[in-house]
């Protein structure tokens, strides 16, 4: 399908039109102008193969999975479980039952906060997060800490938006029972040294949860190499459907933790007096799962594998460098987050212009960006700003689109001056 492995098509000369033609939405117009989509960190667009896989499922083998005796149910179950193995391979998990299907990153984190909390957290314990976390990696821990009488502590960042690793070691005292940290900041684009964090934490027997929502689509992840205890992400940020996500957890933790939701599928036996629970992964998958979305995620993983994450990473790094150069040529533009290691999000402010105004004027020029606090209010408070404009990239974006963004910001800045 894609010929980028061919010697004539290197990352500097990709068959970009072919890739773009796989995404129907990229051919649409807004306000009569071709859509320029730079809101990929919020959600990525979906290729034809994902749409077709979901359509085929509903047209040809829609059926409830696992307990069915009939042909369709078996076919749906096979397709469903095959995706678990695809995810297992994608993140190199040791066992397929370490891959739990959830509604998304947020539910995955809530599950761990709730179940890990019930099992292990006592009054006086500490949970460590970082200053650049998304609300979904703050609030579940706050709720759990409140419930268990524990304390939430925060790894600070420097003014470039990088974790203060020099302070990290001293924060690892005996009270710390879990560290939850993002791999890539959704607001700043910072890539955190998660391998180092995990190895230092493990030296003190502290497990680590990695929020990979903004990493899974950009960076190759090997959970065994990282030695992550938990790793969570969403399908819709990796070209798959919404409403579907992954919790990876080491077998040991998942076996020891109590179930999250009760219901069908997660039980072994039920009597009115007492129920016993199913084995992994079903113990954490109560109720009918999102079969179509799981099938869609499978197609998205095939799609990414076919293009190759190495190619995607290289292409996106080119786009980021090109965009940074263009953005910094704009008078009065100030980057929020200047980490050395960054992935596909760039946050900025232009002069005294309100980010909301800049975003709205870009929208009227057909350019989709995000404005506001990006669900990282504490981070905005650290930078003492109400919000930013964020442009976030995917490998299907082009230099020409970046030029439009830069020109669009200049136009907005002139109007708002």
């Amino acid at each position: 399908m894609f010929n980028h492995n061919d010697t004539t098509a290197t990352p500097t000369a990709p068959d970009i039109e072919k890739i773009r033609s796989e995404f129907p939405i990229l051919q649409t117009k807004v306000y009569g102008k071709p859509l320029v989509y730079f809101d990929n960190a919020a959600t990525t667009q979906k290729p034809n193969v994902v749409l077709k896989a979901m359509d085929d499922y509903y047209r040809e083998y829609n059926s409830n999975v696992h307990r069915g005796v009939h042909f369709l149910s078996q076919k749906a179950t096979d397709a469903f479980e095959e995706v678990r193995r695809k995810v297992q391979a994608y993140i190199n998990a040791e066992h397929e039952h370490e891959v739990i299907f959830t509604k998304g990153t947020t539910e995955s984190i809530n599950l761990v906060a709730s179940c890990f909390g019930k099992k292990y957290i006592k009054p006086g314990d500490t949970i460590l997060i970082s200053a650049m976390e998304h609300h979904s990696n703050i609030v579940p821990w706050q709720m759990m800490c409140e419930d268990r009488g524990a304390t939430l502590k925060v790894i600070p960042i420097n003014d470039k938006g990088e974790l203060r690793m020099d302070l990290f070691d001293d924060m690892l005292d005996d009270t710390v029972k879990l560290i939850a940290v993002t791999y890539v900041s959704n607001t700043l684009g910072t890539v955190n040294p998660v391998k180092e964090i995990i190895s230092k934490a493990h030296a003190q027997n502290i497990p680590v949860l990695i929020d990979a929502a903004q990493a899974i689509q950009h960076i190759g992840i090997d959970v065994q190499f990282l030695d992550a205890d938990f790793l969570v992400f969403s399908s819709h940020k990796m070209y798959g459907p919404t409403g579907m996500g992954i919790l990876y957890g080491k077998e040991k933790w998942l076996n020891e933790m109590p179930p999250y939701h009760g219901g069908g599928e997660m039980i072994k036996t039920v009597t009115f007096e007492k129920s016993t629970y199913n084995v992994l992964p079903f113990k954490f998958e109560a109720g009918t799962p999102n079969v179509a979305e799981v099938v869609g995620l499978g197609a998205a993983i095939d799609f990414i594998n076919e293009i190759g994450l190495d190619y995607i990473r290289e292409r996106e790094q080119q786009l980021i460098s090109y965009a940074l150069e263009g953005l910094l040529s704009i008078d009065g533009l100030r980057l929020i987050g200047e980490a050395k290691e960054r992935a596909a999000s760039i946050s900025f402010l232009v002069g005294n212009a309100h980010p909301f105004d800049v975003g709205e004027l870009l929208d009227k020029q057909g350019i989709a960006v995000r404005t506001g606090h990006h669900c990282t209010e504490p981070l905005m408070n650290i930078f003492k700003i109400p919000g930013t404009v964020r442009a976030s990239f995917a490998f299907y974006n082009t230099e020409e689109e970046v030029d439009k963004l830069v020109a669009g910001i200049k136009k907005a800045a002139t109007l708002l001056a």
């Binding site: 309100h354 105004d357 975003g359 709205e360 009227k364 404005t371 109007l415 708002l416």
Partner: protein
């Protein structure tokens, strides 16, 4: 001018522009021209909830009429605020409470505003009508 005459005037002004960037340019200019609210009224009590940007609204009651002043930290919002102020300010509480505000739809602005902006504008209109209703009931007592 009556409330409806001002609305008609705004709709006519917007017909001069061909594309939305020009309309926005005009809105931004209106924002820049909006007489500033007295700093003492930029309090949390006068903040309108429901917008990504902040809007302060203050009402003065003089000789049977309500006068509004307002401000925002975002220029487009300020322009929208300016239009609403222009339409409703300087009328009696009854006129304001009874007013049918249709210019936002007439100029096609509602469908072009982002939902948060549109909600903010609605909250602002609602707040102005609340002031009007409050002063109306006061004057009836």
């Amino acid at each position: 001018m009556t409330i409806n005459e001002t609305q008609a005037q705004i709709v006519e002004d917007f017909e001069l522009f061909d594309d939305w960037m020009q309309k926005y340019e005009y809105i931004i200019q209106l924002g820049k021209d909006l007489p500033l609210i007295d700093e003492q009224y930029k309090t949390d009590d006068n903040l309108i909830k429901g917008c990504q940007s902040r809007v302060w609204l203050h009402a003065d009651y003089r000789e049977g009429k309500l006068f509004f002043t307002a401000d925002s930290d975002a220029l487009i919002t300020k322009g929208l605020v300016s239009m609403v102020v222009q339409v409703l300010s300087g009328h009696t509480p009854k006129e304001i409470a009874d007013a049918d505000i249709h210019f936002v739809d007439d100029i096609g602005l509602r469908s072009h505003l982002s939902p948060t902006r549109s909600n903010g504008l609605l909250s602002m209109l609602k707040q102005m009508k609340m002031y009007a209703i409050a002063y109306q009931s006061k004057t009836l007592q």
